[in-house]
Amino acid sequence: MTTILIMTFTGIGLIGVLGFAGRRKPAADLSEWAVGGRNFGAVSMWFLQAGEVFTTFTFLGMAGLAFSGGVAALYALPYVPIGYMVLFFLAKRLWSLGKERGYLTQGDYLEDRYDSKLLGTVAAVLGVVFVLPYLQLQITGLGLIVQLVTGNSSSGTLSMIIGSVLVVAFVLWAGLHGVAMTSYFKDVIMLIVLGVLLVAIPSHFAGGVSAMFHRIDKLHPEMLTIHAGPADQVWFTTSMLVSAIGVGLMCLPHAWPAVMSARDPKVLRRNYTWMPLYELCLLMPIIVGFAAILVLKPGSSANGILLTLSKQVLPAWATGLVVIAAIATAMVPAAGILIGISSLVARNIARVQGERTQFWINHGTVVAACGLSLLLAIFRPDLLANLLLLTYSGTVQLAPAIALGFLTRRPVGKVPILAGLFVGELAVIWLTFWNKDLAGNVNVGLIGLAANLIVLTLAVPAERLLARRTTPASDKQVAMTA
């Protein structure tokens, strides 16, 4: 136990040190801090983008999902490659607009494309509200990891505090460069650990991966199919679709700084081409999760199964390495999310004059957002849990606005976009919290998106009619063209 504890806190410290090593001196302006001066090459971009995909949810959650739902966990496999195939086509346009118009955030893009500060602010507020619970999830996950392996809740709390302080410190110092540096470490240790677990756990409990699946096929064949129940085909397909739209149209605000930091669009395209192969790593925790079906009782705590099995199979020092990898999957995405949230507040919500003031508001937001998430993770861990349900389904409502913004001649103005967004969010919130059974197994984000598109489509002729009555013909052309 002492070995694991020592390795845990050494790992947290090491990630902090690596984050600081991302820059020799602190960034002088927000662009340098948030998007690394738009000078990131293929390797840095690769790890930054992978950093967003492989989080605590991937590392611990996928194993848990495979344990409780079998192949239903595979819904998480296709959505990133499908999303990246969309981004492959949009990369050049996205990067060019970002470079030319100086975008740092999703809010900048929407504000500029629709010539609407209101839309920029609304998108930024939605982004912060829906992504803040995701930040808290990373911090809560960090504490949970340490608590699970040490069996001591105070060690979990202490690790959350130290981890959060270090993340804030290196993010303030190094910005996106710090996230990139820690991402290298995170992905290398995560892949080594998952590779070891993939061999060790099935071998120990079932005599190998193939033997393990033959036993599952005999004893629990239902785990090898998507069948009727809460995780049926409708759930699988709609959840995958909503997540793919979210990735493909960059609906999560913290995805923007990484893409805006690319040196040129070729780097982005190359990564989007090869990243689907890297996605196969997701299968490793899923296969480990299948092993738990044979070993643990149904109803065991799903999130902890990867660590539980590791402790049963590996010596203490190796379990310590697993814990360090798990901690990295919490701390590194938390750092990326902080950059996404703070730049949204500084650029699209606070709206102060002067670059220096904007820079300090950004840094203040980093401290405030992480501090708030830490306090909630310690004292009210369930307070934001419901909002977490809205992270994907809520942010995906920005998809129509983002997609139409790519067009040179936009077919809609800001009013239909805002109306659709309002109705889409309302539908998602209503179906998530008040009328939970109405949607059945259909992802509420997709229903919200349908409502959003209907309202948007109906509002377009209304807007044009209004514009025709009030604006001379020559001005209309200007208003509709970006």
Binding site: V71, L77, P81, I82, L90, K92, R93, A482
Partner: protein
Amino acid sequence: MRPYHLIPAVPALALALMPFLPFVNTDGLWFGLPRMLVWGAAWCVLCTPALLLTERQMAREGAELTDTTATVTTAEGVDQ
């Protein structure tokens, strides 16, 4: 919409439809692994050749990236 847009649609469709294909969404194993897992992994792998082929087709049609400067100056053109 150009023909090369359809190349990545093949793996995308194969992945999206996987729970509805009766020979995939069933018990039994392929190569000692669940059929859904093998199907999903195989089509994920095929996404990369599909995108490489698309890039080649785009280059052939003169839609590939030439250089960064050209990209910035033509920023207002819709990509592909």
